[in-house]
Symmetry: C2
Amino acid sequence: MKMLPGCIPCLVKMAITTATIGGGNEEQIYQSARSALKILLEGNFQFPAPYFSAPILRKVETILNQPDPFIKQKRVSNQAGLKLAQELAKPYVEKAKNSKDRLLRSLRASIAGNIADYAVVPDLEGKIEDKLREAFKLKFSCLDFERFWKKLRGARRILYICDNAGEIAFDRILIEELSNFKKQVIVAVKSGPALNDALVSDALEVGLDKIAGVELITTGQAMMGLDLKSAGRELKRAFRDSDIILAKGQANFECLAGKNGKIFFLTLIKCQALENKLGLKKGSAIFASGDMLNAMFGNLK
Amino acid sequence: MKMLPGCIPCLVKMAITTATIGGGNEEQIYQSARSALKILLEGNFQFPAPYFSAPILRKVETILNQPDPFIKQKRVSNQAGLKLAQELAKPYVEKAKNSKDRLLRSLRASIAGNIADYAVVPDLEGKIEDKLREAFKLKFSCLDFERFWKKLRGARRILYICDNAGEIAFDRILIEELSNFKKQVIVAVKSGPALNDALVSDALEVGLDKIAGVELITTGQAMMGLDLKSAGRELKRAFRDSDIILAKGQANFECLAGKNGKIFFLTLIKCQALENKLGLKKGSAIFASGDMLNAMFGNLK
């Protein structure tokens, strides 16, 4: 999906937030904003917004002399995520009456984790338990579960493209579930820092490597979402060889929503720009194939 | 007050909002965003954010070939403002038990009008009556009323610098009140379009010219807030010769907050950037002299 107009100021804001969270002084914060302005001014808006995160964040990291400004937040998110996933999401999934219901509950648990995105909602603390409980009950605005269920039966290999730290503790529940169906699950995280997106260190922290049948890889990229063309070899191979691709979070949605075929998206609508584009309210949940989305919303390329 | 970091993306957003409200097509909206990026990139952030509104809005107007993109919204705001001021604010003020209380109530009525800013909160319709009633009851976060009351006694001439269309219907109530104290009130509106800011046509629509003792002038500028250095001669003279200056709205606050002496600010805190800077919550109301503000918040230059 090409850059939406509303993404342009948001990317400038991202530079400022990152510089602030990374401990930048006033001068560094202004400089980070200027770098974002310059990169966007020179950029081609035919590309998805997350593509711009890579050059902007690299600039901010250089200005701060800090290779991973969100590193502390990610540790905190992972620990909070693990605790909440264990205490709230696990018991919710365990209540399922059969394996199909259990899978649907795991999808809800995973989407509940999508609200644990400190980069977007930094002041969730205190409210997060209530938010998670709400998320378990939410109605999907687009739900393509039957198609997924059907595809899953014949699938051998699933590529699961992760989103943020913290959230991956909830992804773990869904990934375990997929693995319980005797599927090979290839889990992709970023190869380098991109906001609070999960890296290998985060995947290890929440024990994604401990699940039977799981192979951990990286996208080969330090950007939000995924630029398939320039992705790493491992990711490209997994993308080609998997029977199902499960893309988590809004940035992956923005980058890949135009694709039909074996791809499914699991995300909340997190911003006004996408709300305007799709006509779905902020906070709406989507679990849908690219086919369904492109049929519903026209071509999302 | 110099540009806050958070104002930078907000000014890009302003260009997009203006292009959208002005009926721009997709290409014009992207072009408007790019113009804002360029102007900001080349800009000096030592100046207040509203200073950037002038060149950005001029560019957007040129791109749209539309000299006043908010013209329809302003008509609607004025009519809604007149109705609500008459039905809600007037009776609220009339309940006062003496002239001092009546003045304070007029100040509250005027600040209530500050929420009728469609550029910032475009979906207020339906909720606006409740919001206004709340506004009459609000506690000011900074209140310098006694100083104002004292100054008013000796004052002959007051300069009232207006903010938005719609809002000026509520300003009218306060301006009438000041005029009832037998003061000369010089009311300044913008000389050309700046978002939904009030122009002479708006002042006439709400009858500001009909009040005894009122002289209507323009700032000589088509920008949000006021750049005193490059303002028109009428404004400069009024600024110099008035005994009290009453600056309404956040943009005037941003431009003039560093000034001590005879100036008073009447505004709501409308954005996160200013909330962060002052440590006052979004929605907080201020009626305070520059002296009080600079004592409370350090130098706001």
